[in-house]
């Protein structure tokens, strides 16, 4: 282990800048090496504690390396996901896609290690801008539009965050990124929380997430599902632990995401809604704010990145191989994509918090933390939401994608198959980690911010989970005709700004255009006549006044010139004669003047 702080973001940024020059057989090893070095740097940093990379900039102290247990666990899972995500996209030739992904990860790691708001904001915006390209690289008109909406929303979020940071600096006088006084919130507290909350997809600021993640490239969405929201959860845990309002917002997210995911027809949009729901658990845990809750939020972030990455890789494999993402165009794929099916089902069991799979311990921690501080309503509703998670992700997704009726066309069926080796390898790695974290949560406990005494493997919790999952399955199979996917989209909060945009265009095309035409006509009738009279006067004045003076001078000069020309015969002797006469006249005049 190194004793020197190495910033993993720097490795990724330098690696990304060199990448275009690394071609041929060296490209793939290089692609794998750079995120691996970044992971090694994070692992090295984790053995340290304190503040590193401190620079004085004007009046401010910038801290690029605040290392403690909270930053270390988030940085570790982000760096690990960068390795798995790059492995998944190893066969992608377009260097720009890898560059965008690495800058995105660098932004996330930079934010996590930032100890001040200025460097945090810098990395925060780096994340927003680089991730936009992961949407645009899918190169469809819908992706282009979704990318612009994503960028617009995150720019607004960035401005809100910056406003909060500036107000806080004015009030407090420093830019250190520490725990806020959440019991006495000021305007800047709300603004900064709003900025972080937008990236965490807090309802109603969440619509960018399903909109963008379902339109990103097949590999771009694997990166996007991990970094933006979980980095935001880290910032909330760092700055807003114990802020009560987050409990309510988290519970709303957990339930809202469930309902939309149950209705959804697009598999990647379903998974995106699932992120809203699962991040809700983390946000609620941050709101609870106790040691168990923060441990739960951190553990759930780790588990979530593992299983959600795996699920997006499964969905990405289906998209990559078939070009389709809708249940109504897929189905029965177990025959053609058996490996993808197994990996996806492991992800489904993990998100459902089944025993021995990733989220079993972490979700239990959050719910127990709620009971511990007597926020029972929140824990009950989160349990209710957990049942919904199993319905849409544990049952609906695998059933309608891999089993059930096949809606594939002959062409889709022909194309379907397990993806290239590197994509399967990435899924296998994530699946292994999902089972490892679920079966031996002690490994994860060792990394959590606070000491852990929570043990999910007792008879009661296992009985509770098996009953919950078992009878939710019974309800699913009895009522599944009501869940039959339909080729429809679900209207959400983005309706307001998408239709708002259309309304703006309509206003520009109709009332504003009419007003412009009417104004032009009025100007022509009322304004143009007098203007023509005035113009004619000035024309007359110009012709007779100004031109008269100018032309008079010109005529005078021309007349003098004519006279002068008359005395010029072109013969040298006449010229000498006139010159001598003129000189003699001047001389005589001078003498007479001197004599007088």
């Amino acid at each position: 282990m190194t004793n020197c702080f190495t910033h993993p973001a720097l490795i990724l940024i330098i690696g990304a800048l060199i990448l275009p020059f690394v071609r041929g057989p060296l490209r793939k090893p290089y692609l794998f090496l750079v995120p691996l070095l970044s992971l090694a740097a994070v692992a090295g940093n984790s053995s340290m504690s304190g503040q590193f990379g401190i620079y004085q900039f004007l009046d401010w102290q910038l801290v690029f390396g605040r290392v403690d247990r909270l930053s270390s666990i988030f940085a570790l899972i982000m760096a690990l996901m960068a390795v798995v995500g790059t492995l998944y996209a190893l066969h992608v030739d377009n260097a720009k896609e890898h560059i965008a992904a690495w800058f995105y990860v660098a932004g996330s790691l930079g934010t996590i290690y930032s100890g001040d708001y200025l460097s945090l904001f810098l990395f925060w915006e780096m994340m927003a801008f680089s991730s936009t390209f992961l949407i645009w690289f899918r190169r469809g008109e819908k992706s282009l539009a979704a990318g612009y909406r994503y960028l617009l929303i995150h720019t607004i979020g960035g401005i809100i965050l910056l406003a909060g940071i500036m107000l806080r600096y004015q009030a407090v006088g420093d830019i250190a990124f520490t725990l806020m006084d959440v019991k006495n919130p000021e305007l800047y507290t709300w603004l900064i929380m709003l900025g972080f909350g937008l990236n965490a997809a807090v309802v109603p600021l969440h619509s960018w997430l399903p909109d963008a993640y379902s339109e990103a490239s097949f590999n771009g969405s694997v990166f996007m599902c991990a970094f933006t929201t979980k980095t935001a959860v880290y910032t909330l845990a760092r700055g807003f632990a114990g802020f009560d309002i987050l409990i309510l917002l988290g519970v709303i997210m957990a339930l809202y995401g469930v309902i939309y995911a149950v209705m959804e027809n697009d598999i990647r949009k379903l998974l995106a809604w699932s992120i809203v729901s699962q991040v809700g658990y983390m946000v609620a845990a941050v709101g609870i704010g106790t040691e168990l809750a923060i441990n739960g939020a951190s553990a759930h972030a780790v588990a979530h990145i593992l299983y959600k990455g795996l699920l997006f890789m499964g969905a990405g494999s289906v998209l990559y191989m078939t070009g389709k993402t809708k249940f109504t165009e897929l189905g029965g794929l177990y025959r053609k994509m058996p490996a993808t099916m197994i990996f996806t089902i492991i992800g489904c069991l993990s998100i459902s918090a089944a025993p021995f799979f990733a989220a079993f311990a972490s979700k239990g921690m959050i719910i127990s933390a709620g009971y511990e501080v007597h926020v029972n309503w929140a824990s009950w509703l989160l349990m209710f939401g957990a049942t919904g998670t199993f319905i849409y992700n544990g049952l609906k997704l695998p059933y309608y994608l891999f089993f059930g009726k096949s809606n594939c066309t002959a062409e889709t069926w022909e194309k379907a198959g397990d993806p290239p080796w590197n994509m399967q390898m990435a899924m296998a790695t994530s699946a292994f980690l999902c089972i490892a974290v679920g079966s031996a949560p002690v490994v994860l406990y060792g990394l959590l911010p606070h000491p852990v005494s929570y043990n999910p493997y007792n008879g009661y919790l296992i009985s509770e989970t098996l009953q919950l999952l078992g009878f939710a399955s019974v309800a699913f199979f009895l009522l599944r005709r009501y869940l039959e996917p339909e080729d429809k989209i679900c209207l959400d909060m983005d309706w307001f700004y998408r239709k708002g945009g259309s309304l703006f265009l309509w206003i520009a095309k109709h009332p504003l255009q009419w007003f412009d035409t009417a104004w032009g006509e009025a100007y022509r009738v009322v304004g143009l006549g007098p203007l023509m009279v005035i113009s004619r006067f000035w024309s007359w004045f110009d012709w007779h006044g100004i031109d008269g003076v100018v032309d008079g001078i010109a005529r005078c000069v021309r007349a003098i010139g004519g006279r002068v020309r008359a005395v010029q015969s072109g013969q040298i002797q006449y010229t000498i004669y006139f010159s001598a006469t003129f000189a003699a006249l001047i001389l005589i005049a001078y003498v007479l003047f001197q004599l007088s």
Binding site: F218, G323, K324
Partner: protein, 101 residues
């Protein structure tokens, strides 16, 4: 794997009854399990509490999503494309250039 799935599909009735049997065992186990970890009175004293909760919660979520979706929230896929369709270059559907297939 495919053969196993097809083998089970052909014997779906047996699979379903086996699942019901497992559920019955889980319910029976819940009567004897140590409930000192329970958080509420209901968990401790209502038999098969989590079985009832799981079924009721799933049914409520499915029912609510169905009602909510069909109350106007679910709409045609080209809902947002209508304005774009007026333009010559209307948005296209399906796979795009970087999708493999």
């Amino acid at each position: 794997m495919n053969k196993l799935i097809e083998y089970l599909s052909e014997r779906i009735r047996t699979v379903v009854w086996t699942c019901y049997g497992i559920l019955a065992l889980v319910m029976a186990h819940s009567l004897y399990v140590d409930k000192s970890h329970a958080h509420s009175w209901a968990e401790q004293y209502i038999p098969f509490f989590w079985s009832i909760f799981g079924f009721a919660a799933a049914a409520a979520i499915i029912g609510f999503a169905r009602w909510y979706g069909h109350s106007g929230i679910m709409t045609r896929p080209d809902y947002y494309d209508r304005d774009a369709e007026e333009e010559p270059a209307a948005a296209s559907h399906g796979a795009t250039s970087t999708d493999h297939a």
